[in-house]
Amino acid sequence: MMTQQDALINYCLRLGDSSLILGQRMAEWCSNGPTLEEDIALTNVSLDLFGQARTMLTYAANLEGKGNTEDDLAYRRSEREYYNTLLSERPNGHFGDTIARNFLHDAFLYHLYTALKNSKDETIAAHAAKSIKEIAYHLRHTGEWVVRLGDGTEESHQKIQQSFDDLWMFTGDLFEMNEVDDILIKAGVAVDLNDIKKNWDSTVNEVLQRATLQRPKDDYMQTGRLQGMHSEYLGHLLTDMQYLQRAYPDATW
């Protein structure tokens, strides 16, 4: 039987890992953005996400009480010990792929954190209240780009429609729940993701409609993240991100 403490640690890892992995993806854009302003924007988002990841991983490390720091959790876990959303680990692809992926994820985090502001766990509530201010900027940024690309040229429309079609099978994972959620919802710490889904649907529909894009049909949805099952892409990402600490353990600046 899982304790509430174990459930809370797992929940913090989910939140922290999703921000960390998406932050790492955004960092890959550094110096590769389509314009200078956009390069700066994408890496600004990365910075915010790393900040958010740090708060949650620090909290998870403290709850574990094994003397780990947030860096140990980031650099010393293998992919099976990661609980980030499947969407966050999708490769950057072209600019439209990144915008579509981040928009779907930003809308999820925006509504999740809005609800978590009322969490009975003080640290999570404070984290949500703080992060929501940053995520609002991220969502506005990606939402505007979705409209610009979708309602842009024939080519940009077709490309970003394809991005949404390709990514759609990873959106079901965002709203999956298990025993961890059951325990924490009962304790008033977590929120029911079915409720978040309704708000997410309405934001996504509003933006897709404005962008003259078709919402893809819910078909097969990839799953397994809650058990630490990921796509092959996460392993490659971690290999890159963790290289230094794996090659030179405990190296510091």
């Binding site: 956009e38 988002v45 984290h127 900027y137 940024h141 934001t203 509003e206």
Partner: protein
């Protein structure tokens, strides 16, 4: 040495309040609202700060600068406590701090503009150019040279400038 007998909390506050923001050196940690609280215990000083943005790299500088200032004043045993609630807001900045930002060439936050609809059209209507004072300005990017700033351009004097985002 009993720190409590030697220093009041106000004395410690005054000692560190003037530490400048490393990226915007015209405003201090006090004016920025990052410095939240000072506690003096018998053998230890605890300084509570709050981050502007969760990933702001300047936070580490703030911590180091605060500890160094305290050490330079003979207080060896000091600790920094980071709090996230209440979440930092640009509303904590004084009018004087806003004026300093403007004089430095950064348009200060337009108060009460952060809560309008998240999607679309929620950028502040009137951001004044810190160079020529014109209100005929245009948002270039919501993300600027640091986490707390957006990039604008004046359509009259044509100068690009930083706008301190309202959050």
């Amino acid at each position: 040495m009993n720190l409590k007998e030697k220093y009041t909390e106000q004395a410690i506050w005054d000692m560190i309040a003037q530490i400048p923001d490393p990226e915007i050196p015209v405003i201090t940690i006090e004016e920025l609202g990052v410095l939240r609280k000072v506690e003096v215990l018998k053998d230890k000083v605890i300084v509570t700060i709050t981050p502007t943005y969760t990933g702001c790299p300047a936070m580490k500088m703030f911590e180091d600068d605060i500890l160094k200032t305290l050490h330079d004043n003979g207080i060896e045993n000091a600790a920094i406590k980071m709090v996230y609630t209440p979440a930092w807001t640009t509303d904590w900045m004084s009018e004087a701090a806003m004026q300093k930002l403007k004089d430095y060439g950064i348009a200060p936050p337009v108060k009460g503009t952060q809560d309008k609809g998240v999607l679309f059209g929620s950028a502040p209507k009137e951001v004044q150019c810190p160079q020529c004072g014109s209100k005929n300005t245009e948002l270039k990017s919501q993300f600027g040279s640091t986490a707390c700033k957006a990039l604008y351009q004046c359509k009259d004097c044509l100068e690009p400038f930083d706008y301190f985002k309202c959050i």
